[in-house]
């Protein structure tokens, strides 16, 4: 395969010791496929992802752009900040780092990142939600090898992540599993079952990210079912927990770096974000700061794209 075509131009220093390591079925076989972007480049990438989200959901005429927007900084840092080692030429590589989007309705942000990584052409984003498209309204791992879990029924992704982390641990792989959940999703009891089981097996190779954007379908999360503050609750399950401003990419990078340094227990990042972050000036005049589960009109999309221009 042409590594350069996929933007591969940086190998981890320890792997340069064995330039043939990519061909060896070794436990130590790890390659950083993507050069970490600089901070400025990552900030620019957040705009690229946001533009994709606006365009694809408006083209689809449905979807969850505001739920996607809140998670852009986290997804950008994971996929382009050097935290995720993965390979578009072999999406099921057994030592890849995994990203499971438990809040499956925010899949436009994931499709945008995967397209930017080279898993499929950027133009394909415009097929979102259309009949026959691989880019379904919620993630479908049967349609796309780069999707780690079929989600959309909330509360289930962290359990699947526990399974991945257990398997990687059994096989002596260094792969890390990240699971992104929504704050409304924390109302599902299964999430707390999964938190307890990850602690039991001391899965330091598992990081849960709660994209706490403060809203769910019918209103503010604190009004629907008050589960906050998340940090002490998750800490009480034996996890290492950090709470950050998840729309500040520098804080996101710092938190992900700390999470990877913890070696004795699973880690969580409570990522406090704003739903619709990045296009709030466009959404605010509509009077609907939640803006849940609906695309921008063509007019609003144009305004948003202008706001997100480089």
């Amino acid at each position: 395969m042409n590594l350069w075509r996929h933007g591969v131009h940086w190998l981890r220093e320890d792997l340069l010791l064995n330039k043939f390591s990519r061909r060896l079925p070794s436990k130590e076989y790890r390659v950083a496929i993507f050069k970490p972007l600089s901070l400025d480049e990552m900030k620019a990438k957040t705009k690229v992802l946001r533009r994709h989200i606006v365009r694809m959901t408006t083209e689809a005429g449905s979807g969850h752009p505001s739920s996607s927007m809140s998670a852009v900084e986290m997804v950008t840092a994971l996929f382009f900040g050097g935290f995720m080692q993965h390979d578009p030429a072999q999406p099921r590589w057994n030592n890849r780092d995994r990203f499971i989007l438990s809040k499956g309705h925010a899949v436009p942000v994931l499709y945008a990142a995967l397209a930017e990584c080279g898993y499929f052409p950027v133009e394909e984003l415009m097929t979102l939600r259309k009949l026959g498209s691989r880019l379904e309204g919620h993630p479908n791992m049967k349609r796309l090898d780069c999707i780690e879990a079929s989600t959309g029924s909330l509360g289930q992704g962290l359990s699947v992540g526990v399974g991945h982390a257990l398997a990687c641990h059994m096989d002596g792989l260094s792969a890390h599993t990240y699971v992104m959940l929504g704050d409304g999703e924390m109302g599902e009891g299964q999430v707390w079952e999964a938190l307890a089981s990850a602690e039991k097996y001391k899965l330091a190779n598992l990081t849960a990210i709660v994209d706490q954007n403060g809203y769910q379908q019918t209103g503010a999360t604190k009004d629907v079912l008050k589960l906050t503050e998340f940090q002490p609750k998750i800490e009480s399950f034996g996890w290492h927990v950090q709470t950050i401003n998840g729309n500040d990419i520098e804080q996101v990078i710092a938190a992900l770096t700390i999470a990877r340094s913890i070696k004795d227990r699973p880690t969580a990042i409570v990522s406090k974000t704003q739903k619709g972050f990045g296009i709030l000036p466009v959404l605010a005049p509509t009077g609907d700061l939640n803006y849940h589960g609906k695309p921008l009109s063509k007019e609003l999309a144009e305004k948003a794209l202008a706001l997100l221009a480089d």
Partner: protein, 319 residues
């Protein structure tokens, strides 16, 4: 227990015991097999495997939803997870997880429900899975397997591990008569004819196979010749064997330890309606929940006896 006496069968082990033993015996041949339990491994018998392979047995506590999700992750990462609980809790508590995380992505998860049916006895209706076959057969791509005895369980457990894709295996709690010999051949998706007959065919699975064989003996004394077919795989269903039975015997009785709807009876009727219409009578627990009691008393009270099958056979032959 008197099941199988009329047919001259000797009492053997429970299907759940045979499952646990078979899994342990296959542990080295299938190195990627792992078990995920909801803290009832000593009831479902996965503990037999987990004790032999402690690094491959996980107990995630009384949390069936998480248990199935964890199994899905393990399967996606290349393992063959065998997830087990009481059939009632596995299929009902974790149904959405089975649908979303196992069936929809067609992952290689093996789901084993023990304590199925009313023959679990004294623990009562809350513990009795009587709707599990309907639930699991409803899911596209999920194989549904109901072994009748210990020897067949051994073969079907191996078949389950070799089968690529989700499988639901239903196990009973109580000891059952041995129907098959150690060298019998059982294949997932292929029904086994246990006795030939020309007036009707009794289709059964699980506990009801031994009872069907008893009924066939009683029918013979009445001058009615009954074929007995063990339909151990409900999905994918063996259409060929069912159509052959209809063509050669003309009538069916379907017996199952399940509700009347969505189980083997419905599956068989759906095949015959389309491919070989014929008179059918159904033997099942009726449209009701059962209760606490001794297994044999329960089977009698809820109509799962050789006498009930004989009556159904006489009725179908009179139609």
């Amino acid at each position: 227990m008197t099941i199988g006496q009329a047919a001259g069968l000797k009492l053997g082990k429970a299907v759940r015991d045979a499952f646990g033993t078979a899994l342990k015996e296959l542990g080295n041949e299938f190195p990627t097999v792992v078990t995920v339990d909801g803290d009832v491994g000593n009831s479902t018998r996965t503990e037999v495997f987990a004790k032999a392979f402690p690094e491959r047995g996980f107990n995630v506590g009384i949390a069936e939803s998480n248990m199935v999700g964890v199994a899905a992750g393990l399967a996606a990462a290349g393992k063959i997870p065998v997830v087990s609980s009481f059939a009632a809790f596995l299929t009902c508590n974790a149904y959405d997880q089975i649908r979303m995380c196992v069936a929809y992505p067609h992952l290689n998860v093996k789901m084993v429900g023990s304590h199925a049916g009313i023959s679990i006895g004294e623990d009562g209706a809350s513990q009795m899975a009587i709707e599990d076959i309907a639930l699991m057969s409803a899911l596209p791509g999920v194989a549904v397997v109901v072994p009748a005895d210990a020897p067949s369980t051994k073969h079907l457990v191996k078949g389950m591990l070799e089968h690529h894709g989700p499988v639901y295996l239903r196990c009973g709690r109580i000891d059952v008569p041995e129907i098959y010999g150690p060298d019998s051949v059982l294949t997932i998706g292929k029904a086994n004819q246990l006795r030939d007959g020309k007036n009707l065919t009794i289709i059964a699975n699980g506990l009801m196979v031994g009872i069907a064989l008893d009924a066939a003996v009683a029918l013979e004394a009445k001058g009615i010749s009954a074929r007995v077919l063990d339909l151990h795989t409900v999905s994918p269903i063996d259409q060929e064997a069912i159509v052959k039975a209809v063509k050669e015997t003309g009538r069916l009785v379907v017996a199952e330890e399940h509700l009347p709807h969505g189980g083997v009876g419905s599956a068989v009727a759906s095949v015959t309606a389309q491919l070989a219409p014929c008179p059918i009578e159904f033997v099942n627990i009726g449209n009701t929940y059962a209760e606490s009691g001794d297994p044999e008393g329960l089977l009698k009270k809820y109509g799962l006896t050789a006498e009930a099958i004989v009556a159904a056979a006489e009725k179908v032959c009179s139609r």
